[in-house]
Symmetry: D2
């Protein structure tokens, strides 16, 4: 296989990219100034060296050269340490931060658990979250853990898994185990809402 085809094949594995667009990426790079290719090559290689995983929330963050182990959110003394939100992935965390409505901490699961999965512990950072919650529970009065998973079938399956595996800790350390509110999302019309959403909107009316 030629260099062009090999590179196209690598791009075709990128999220949301098909074989046709991956080809266009290759031609774009061929036509781009050499500086662009050099910087792309360098940054891709340096990615893991310059990027750390936060020892607390497990998100990726760029370290400033010194031996940081905490991301800016986990290192922030103003964030409420008694509130913890569990999300699937980094972009979910970023989107929630953008909404500006959460003053607690986060934990990134690193994935979701497919239905009927036999080894859920290999899919998500379930042991790490248990350990983190135990530590927090012992030390500083954890008040609430929010399961902030997507309302897709995999997301709901993951939430159920966490609910049952974290329930004993919730009892032991006396924190609330909650999920995000369900109902009508902003902009939605009743005429076109699905039955499940209507049922939740009714159940959670206030």
């Amino acid at each position: 296989m030629s260099t062009l085809d090999k590179l196209a094949e690598l791009f075709a594995r990128f999220p949301g990219i098909g074989p046709r667009q991956s080809k266009r990426f290759v031609y774009y790079l061929l036509a781009a100034p050499i500086g662009v290719r050099e910087e792309l090559s360098r940054l891709v290689l340096a990615l893991k060296k310059m990027v750390n995983v936060c020892s607390e929330c497990q998100r990726f963050f760029t370290s400033n050269g010194n031996q940081q182990t905490l991301c800016s959110t986990c290192a922030d003394p103003n964030r409420d340490n008694t509130l913890l939100m569990i999300v699937e992935k980094d972009v979910d965390l970023e989107n929630i931060e953008r909404a500006g409505a959460w003053s607690g901490k986060y934990f990134v699961l690193g994935g979701t658990i497919p239905i009927l999965e036999k080894n859920p512990h290999e899919r998500v950072r379930s042991k790490q979250i248990q350990k983190l919650i135990e530590n927090r529970g012992k030390n500083n009065g954890l008040k609430e853990v929010v399961l902030a998973l997507s309302l897709t079938s995999e997301g709901e399956n993951t939430a159920e898994f966490l609910q049952s595996s974290l329930a004993p800790l919730s009892t032991a350390y006396g924190f609330k185990l909650s999920t995000l509110g369900r109902g009508l999302s902003t902009g939605s019309e009743l005429e076109y809402s699905d039955p499940d959403t209507i049922r939740n909107a009714l159940k959670n009316r206030q």
Copy 2:
């Protein structure tokens, strides 16, 4: 203007129909058996004669010839008379019924109130709903009125209008005035949720 063009123009006023599709409707009718045209003509004309407006909830319903004034839902002795849901239009009511999660009664407002509207009372059946609530409040212990408006800007404006105009009745007769739960709708992903929905999902977590 020709008959063809006049008819096309009438169809072009139908909801969601442009000039091109309205033309196709006319040609469809021209090619259809005469029985179809005759029945369409007859039903369109008979629409208001055979269709009543329910004296309670104001929805349209087909009467069986005798002097009915109540639709099947309002006439149903098993529906809970102490619960009332206010919706914008008939199709909203039908969609909520399809979800099968409401055992109370309904009231159809007949529209929404645009922002900055000077005469909101002319846009919706606001006096009728006040009167209905007063009667219910006096007689049979109204427990809750749910404002089930769409989360569009007009829908939210209408909900605010109703909230302030029904607040005195709520105090006087002791019923709860509620709105549908807001949050993540079924199937939605956190990565793509808008900030407002995320804020509501957080606020209404449970």
Copy 3:
């Protein structure tokens, strides 16, 4: 079944209309002024009385009360009688007229012939077009018949059927039997063109 449901069912048979939109049509009519319903009812019923089928091209047209048998195009002495274009349906004819590039006459087939159809003569006005071409051929020097069918599988099947059934007449009366040019349509990009279109664009380069 109620009047509402019966009417919704009739609208659901309209081209491109599903059960949900047909319901909205009914509610639109219920809320519309009585004048709209009366005119719609009247026009639908009068459709065939006030609309004639042109004895030449078979399209629908609105007669002015007197005993017209020809549509305005067929009655126009400035249209070239030696050129004939065969189209599937009225809207195709209208769209071609809008392009303003045809000075000849038309004939509306009234349909297309599905692949493997056993009785093609019952699907389209094949006998009428043969008779029309024979008359024209005998009388006034027919120069060309253009088969202007869509490039869908049914359209192409219909064109093939006409090509073989009109070939003997073409030989007998010495007119050209042509089809519309195939190739790149305006706005299309080579990168996204299908192989068949590229082959035609190459074959028909000029």
Copy 4:
């Protein structure tokens, strides 16, 4: 700016990629095995070293290590050297090859000329194509040059520019200067065809 953000910014310049998807690319790479990042980095850097530009048609091709200067198509003795097709970019050439209807050679312009562009010669390889045609014209009896540009406004502008700049050569060396056939593309319906396409389909009927 952090490494994550710099890399996301580079990806956001890729064709068809917005800021959100470029972020997902970065997270995809962070989660990918180190081997994937290393190979991507290496291939991107090696791209120009292992990829040549064909000295004839100007397309990119992967050389096998030895000193090739011609791509496989230009080196193929079975391709007809008297036919030349001018295309905008590599992917256009590939799509035409896929259709399997061209036995001649190609030339890749490397771009299109925007309307009102003052220096068209800097936008496309216009001097190279002139030189190539002159050489071919002198040596081996060039019979036809096909301008295979997209039917977008820039593509048509480019075709006009080439038509006037190549006309003297066409006269001098006696080759035909042609463009791709225009008309209905496969699958298109007359009802929805634009006026320009209908006019071309009529003009190019056969």
